[in-house]
Symmetry: C2
C-alpha cells in the first residue's frame, strides 16, 4: 500500500502521514527501490489509532505515551487512566472557558442592535471605555456594583483563549 492509498483509506492527509513518521508516532514503513513508502495492515492500524486519539483531542505527546503503554504489556494501566483523566480535565476546563467567553460576547453584542455609524456603536464604545478603565458588560457579569473606577478584569490571567498556564 502506497502512502496515497493509506491516506484515502484513513482520511488522513499524505503530508500529515509523513509528519507523523517524522515525529516517530508512526513506525517507518518499508521502502521500494525508488524510495516509495509501502505500508501494511499493521501500520494502517497504527495510523487509525493515532487518528482516533487525535479525534479525542489528545496531543501527539500523549498519543506517543499511550502507544508506549500499549507496547509494554506489563505496564500498570494506572498511567493510562491518569492520562485520560487529565485529558478530560483539560477539555472540561477549555469548554467552561469557552462557555464563559460566549456569555461575555453575547453581553457585548447586546450593546448594539441597529445599524449606525461606528462612532455611536455601543459595542465599540464599551470596548473603548473598558480600555480606559470603566467597567464593561462583558467582564462585569451582571450583579457587581463597581460603577466607577478601580475594577480589573483578568486580562493578564488568560493571555490567549486556549492555554491558561499562569495561575490555576
Amino acid at each position: 500500500m502506497l502512502i496515497g492509498e493509506l491516506a484515502k483509506k484513513t482520511g488522513c492527509d499524505v503530508e500529515t502521514i509523513r509528519y507523523y513518521e517524522r515525529e516517530r508516532l508512526l513506525s517507518a514503513p518499508q521502502r521500494s527501490a525508488s524510495g516509495y513508502r509501502h505500508y501494511n495492515a499493521e501500520q494502517l492500524g497504527e495510523l487509525n489509532f493515532i487518528l482516533h486519539c487525535r479525534s479525542l483531542g489528545m496531543s501527539l505527546a500523549d498519543i506517543r505515551n499511550l502507544a508506549a503503554f500499549k507496547a509494554d504489556h506489563e505496564h500498570d494501566c494506572e498511567d493510562i487512566n491518569l492520562l485520560i483523566d487529565q485529558q478530560i480535565a483539560k477539555v472540561h476546563q477549555q469548554a467552561e472557558a469557552l462557555r464563559l467567553l460566549e456569555q461575555q460576547l453575547l453581553a457585548l453584542r447586546d450593546k448594539c442592535h441597529d445599524s449606525h455609524a461606528a462612532a455611536d456603536c455601543g459595542i465599540l464604545q464599551t470596548l473603548v471605555e473598558a480600555a480606559e478603565g470603566e467597567p464593561c458588560v462583558c467582564h462585569t457579569p451582571f450583579g457587581q456594583d463597581n460603577h466607577g473606577h478601580s475594577h480589573d478584569h483578568d486580562h493578564a490571567a488568560k493571555k490567549n483563549g486556549r492555554t491558561q498556564k499562569g495561575r490555576p
Copy 2:
C-alpha cells in the same frame, strides 16, 4: 512611561508588547535618544483595548480590523456586528465540540475502573479495536446498532481539536 512600566500597569508581558508593535496593533511609541520606547496615556489605552479584545478570544487580525473601524468614525457598524457575531459563532462551535469531546472521553474512561496490566485495560482495548475498525464507545454515542464492521467515525472531518474548517 517605559515599556516595563506599561507592562506592569497592564499585566502584559514586555515581549508581548513589542510583539504587538511589530504586528502593527500598537502604534510605534516615541523613542529616547538611546532608543528606549516611551509610552503615553493614549498608547496605554490602545494596549488595554487589545488585551480586552484578546480576553474575549478575538484574533489579532480581528482586533486590527476593529481598531480600523474605531478610527474610521463614518464607517457603518454593521461590520462590527458581523465580526462579533462570527466570533460568537466560532466560540459556540468550539464549546460544543469540546462538550462532545468530554462525553466521548468519559465514555472511554468508563471502560476501566480498577488498576491492572495495560494488556487487559478496557481503555486501551477499546482504542486498539477501534483502530481495527470495530465500533467504540467514544464514537458510537449509545443507541447505534452498528455492532460489527463498517462504521466510520469522522477522523478526517475534524483533524485537530480546535479548528474544523472542512465542512461547516
